[in-house]
Amino acid sequence: MAAIEIPPLNFAALLPLLIVVFTGLAVLILDLFIADKRSLGWISLIGVLLAGVAGSMQQGLAGFNPAFQSVAIVDGYAHFFNLIFVVAAALSILVALGYLGRVGLQKGEYYVLLLFSTAGMMVMAAATDLMVVFLGLETMSIALYIMAALDRKRQTSGEAGVKYFLMGSFSSAFFLYGVALVYGATGSTNVNTIGQVLSGGGQGPLALLGLGLMLIGFAFKVAAVPFQWWTPDVYHGAPTAVTTFMSVGAKAAGFAAMIRVLMVSFSPAFTLNWQPALVVLAVLTMTLGNIAALAQKDVKRMLAYSSIAHAGYIFVGVAAGTAEGVSAALFYLMVYAFMNTGAFAVVGALEKKNHIGTKLSEYAGLHGRSPWLAAAMAVFLFSLTGFPPLAGFWGKLYLFRAAVNANLTWLAVVAVINSGVAVYYYFGVIVQMYMKPAEDGQAAFPGINIATKLALTVAAAATVLIGLAPGSIIAMAISGIFG
């Protein structure tokens, strides 16, 4: 029997991922000894930011790729998504530091699970093998299932956990079945090899069936219509600090893996096959998300529906199927990371114990009670609407321009009409905050935790600054697309 040969693994390539994982393990152990759980949050924050710095320093250095027997790659694309995950995780930790204590949930588990989930997302963005995509997907999802059910005293949280788990697991099964069929059609699970086999004319129909099933799995993860039923209940029922994280992180990770699979494995051989499917997903997701959001009387639930609509806008860029569309989607996800976590941070800051204080009517007169909080919320909502010169405007502009340049002008028109519909419900909140008097009995605002203030400041500053000078982020997004 031959000696077992250990192949070179190249751990240095996955440094950001390793930092996040080891911070997670350290926090897990420190949780046993440290009574003040807030310090765990600050440790997690440092770990996440270090991972971002390490990833940035790796850029431009040669000799990393491909890592781990070409199942992962450290390219600009993976790095850009890693930064999105770092932003989402860091802002969510800051939100949690204030929010969890106020609702009586200040536990170490939140930070541990958040770090493990972030690690799963980073795996998804770097994976070049469907087996590794699946591993990352499950690492991310299993941690998120538990986080959704974190508040064991509140019924809605447990309900969110059960729904998220059942739907997520269901979609994973479809995704896996698709992967198995693609493997059968091409004889490989490597994204690049699959692309080569299919371009050379492999087993077309079987691979196409597999791609369809994989798309169902991804559509569940990014909450696209008609696979969105779980989204409002899960986002609404989960603790707000968890919703903040999963509404951005899980969506970005789903898109990261989906775009790489579509663009590397199934392009150009199958572009014409999947483009119509994505166009349909984009139209349905935008339209239903926006129309359902119109009817909401609860701001948290409204933001859940609006996050569905935003997935639809991103699908517009992906459906374009061009390098321009992909970089526009990347840019939009980065912008979305700031403005959406910001909006949920405001919801979390206003929420009281037992899930009270998220109703639209309870935002009445917020300007008088807490002018800065109202101003921050207004910035995020204007940006989500897509008003110039805020970041959300540029994000939408690049997405829609990519669609027009890919001869999908009508899709861009549908998207613009949808943005118009969205104005109605975003402005509903702004009208409540600035033009309605506060309800009787609404006590003066108790003040915001310093960590939440930091999160709001960073998110609002980024939303405004990216809006005023989008150039550098756009350049990064463009350099982040693969050959």
Partner: protein
Amino acid sequence: MQNIPLTWWLSVATALFSLGLYGALSRKNAIAILMGLELMLNAVNINLVAFNRYITPQNVTGQVFAVFVIAIAAAEAAVALAIIIAAYRQRGTVNVDDLDSMKF
């Protein structure tokens, strides 16, 4: 073994997947839905191993993948049962039709 054509294995896998899908969609008990989901994952394993044997007998990609799927299915089941028990303690039922406190 080799006399059995690949399509037979795939048919069994498809049937198993469909059974699991039916169970997951029709059952009201969260535990029963979980059992349906496990069937779906096992159908995938049959596919993976069968493809490995017939398409790429020179390596073991599919078999390794199947082992990964089994391991992750176990982790998923553990987390799922914990979440279902937590929900049961909150309201004394695991019937998914009763999990409707957030309808608008």
